[in-house]
Symmetry: C2
Subunit: 370 residues, 2 copies
């Protein structure tokens, strides 16, 4: 963290989440330029930041709408007004379906499903609210988390959607979460996806179910989306903020990381080690393997330091390789392993705006798990 | 989860945190009986649940006061009134020290320190608020996280405290976080602690600094506290609720786990696998190794199922060994790996009270990291 940033935030007690708007805007520019260049609609996934302020920034830059994972997130984001919201998640559960149907009375709502069970629940909820809910069928592009890759199964689901009065078949959604690092740079990976996807697309069109929206997502694969045929929308979240996972696997540089957790060294008793005031409650328990060493975040000002253990309130730093190791009372800023998990831990973040003022922002949809 | 519990909670959308008061009361009884039997004062550490309701339950059962990790937690808990609060954590940072001093104008406040730096900050803050703050010196019993084990260093700090007008030297605090599993059952482990601790205790008394409070803590070592000489107080948090880590290392049984995360199966496309609606945002990213398999929670109703991966909003279950595997739409209740991290993710929990009613309770100190 530059001296300027340390200075401007010195009266804020640690740990806290610090976000640089200028870096987000640079990321927005890069992502939107790529999307425009290839004719993709852009749908930012707000699960990463859960903030109305940042969602507004993304929308005003030209997004077609937003994506959320959970109904609670959609309800909070709906405060922005006039939104097109995709719930990119199988919204199973009667309560959830009813809340979605309620939302769809006032907003354009689309939900991802991969089961007749889910379709039936949403159809019933839509009927009760006398509304129409859009449906994306989930295509499994290789992650094997949700969705089918078999054309017949996908046609079966799309046809089942078509039969429901309160549902509107919109298209297909895929998530390339299995591709990161070299696999996300290898054209062969996308060839394999096309080998699965092309027969599905053709079969759908032959059955009169040509998808209107075909949305693909994941930060590592973002700028390779044009390698997947027929895709016309990108759904992405982390890429706007980035984190140490993204850096580690070569998908961005440190200067593209827009958010840090600022902490203080609270103990320096053991030689070669200091303890900071952010542990697994302030950074999340997410771990990453680097050079066969576990690490739980990266400290740009101390590249030789390693966060090697997290207790709930204590972060353990190996500083034995630092020439000028940090000392007790000193502030450090950390790029977390997973920025989405980190935002979900805090009620607020501090935004260094483009005109260099500091602004305290609520994370309105934090804790929306339903 | 018994059919009764599933029935009484069926209208609550998942995922949510469910706590059984009867189990907490059983845990309270066992812990307090042990403490009474050995003449220990009991100080529940509220970092585990961060709830005023549960803190009140612990206090009314005969606690001497409470422990917290962070100043924000102390501020929230102070709403209970008339509390004796130990901040069992090196409260480094000027803002933090000033807020502590502010609190100590109305409440009995004691802070753990392991540095002259920290003592000086607290002394300055106490002077500014014209108050007196109690101090516990941290003794390192073998974890090597915070605190010294060298008698001279501890005497140096205690003497430095004695020199400050606004500080009151109260005693010693130790945390046995290095002992779990067999190590926490082996009398040899406690012999080693005594070999470190006895010289410190004697040196302090010879220097006229005999500690009034000697507090030890950690769930796995809880019922072995009597093996450590001169200890007169127990500080413990997790043992009141327990979690899968505690079960796994043999320190409690499943029926002593008072809290579960209730989830729904949202996808069952891949054979031998289902996806649930709690991932690393609903269960925390904490992992545990069992029989060389990573696992992220335990499902008592499906002991053959294994939670083997967590994405942010998706939990991955291997159900290939289940005779009657769970199906889409079905609810499952999970004992999380770390219950303290889990409470810190939710704004509320649902309490099944002793008289079988369901009560929604806020987690008031959630997100208090300062």
């Amino acid at each position: 963290m530059t001296g300027k940033l340390l200075d401007i935030t010195k009266s804020i007690p640690t740990p806290f989440l610090l976000v640089e708007e200028q870096i987000i805007k640079r990321n927005i520019n890069r992502i939107y330029n790529y999307a425009r260049q290839h004719g993709f609609a852009l749908r930012p996934h707000i699960k990463t930041h859960k903030s109305l302020y940042l969602a507004r920034l993304q929308i005003d830059s030209g997004a077609v709408g937003i994506a959320v994972a959970k109904v609670g997130e959609a309800e909070k984001m709906a405060e922005l007004g006039g939104l097109d919201i995709t719930i990119a998640y199988p919204a199973i559960g009667n309560e959830r379906a009813l809340r979605l149907a309620g939302l769809s009375c006032k907003h354009k709502i689309r939900v991802a499903v991969d089961s007749e069970y889910g379709i039936n629940e949403l159809a019933n909820a839509a009927a009760r609210h006398k509304t129409v809910i859009g449906i994306n069928i989930i295509f499994d592009a290789g992650l094997h988390r949700c969705g089918f890759s078999d054309p017949n199964q996908i046609i079966r689901l799309a046809q089942h959607v078509e039969k429901q009065a309160g549902l509107r078949y919109d298209g297909i959604q895929m998530y390339l979460g299995h591709l990161y690092g070299d696999a996300a740079r290898d054209p062969q990976s996308f060839k394999q996806i096309n080998q699965l996807w092309e027969p599905v697309y053709k079969a759908l069109c032959q059955a009169g179910l040509c998808p209107q929206t075909i949305s693909s997502g994941s930060t590592p694969s973002l700028e390779k989306t044009h390698l997947i045929r027929h895709v016309n929308e990108i759904t992405v979240g982390t890429a706007f903020l980035n984190d140490y996972f993204v850096v580690k696997f070569g998908h961005c540089d440190l200067e593209n990381c827009a958010a840090r957790v600022v902490t203080t060294v609270i103990s320096d008793v053991t030689p070669g080690q200091v303890i900071i005031d952010a542990g697994s409650k302030g950074l999340s328990a997410k771990q990453l393997l680097r050079r066969e060493n576990l690490e739980m975040g990266y400290i740009p000002d101390y590249p030789e330091a390693r966060i090697f253990r997290l207790h709930e309130e204590h972060g353990w730093l190996d500083i034995s390789h630092c020439k000028n190791p940090p000392r007790i009372g000193q502030r450090l800023s950390i790029i977390p392993v997973n920025i989405s998990l980190c935002f979900n831990l805090y009620d607020h973040f501090y935004l260094l705006t483009s005109d260099d003022t500091l602004q305290k922002e609520r994370i309105q949809a934090r804790g929306s798990y339903v």
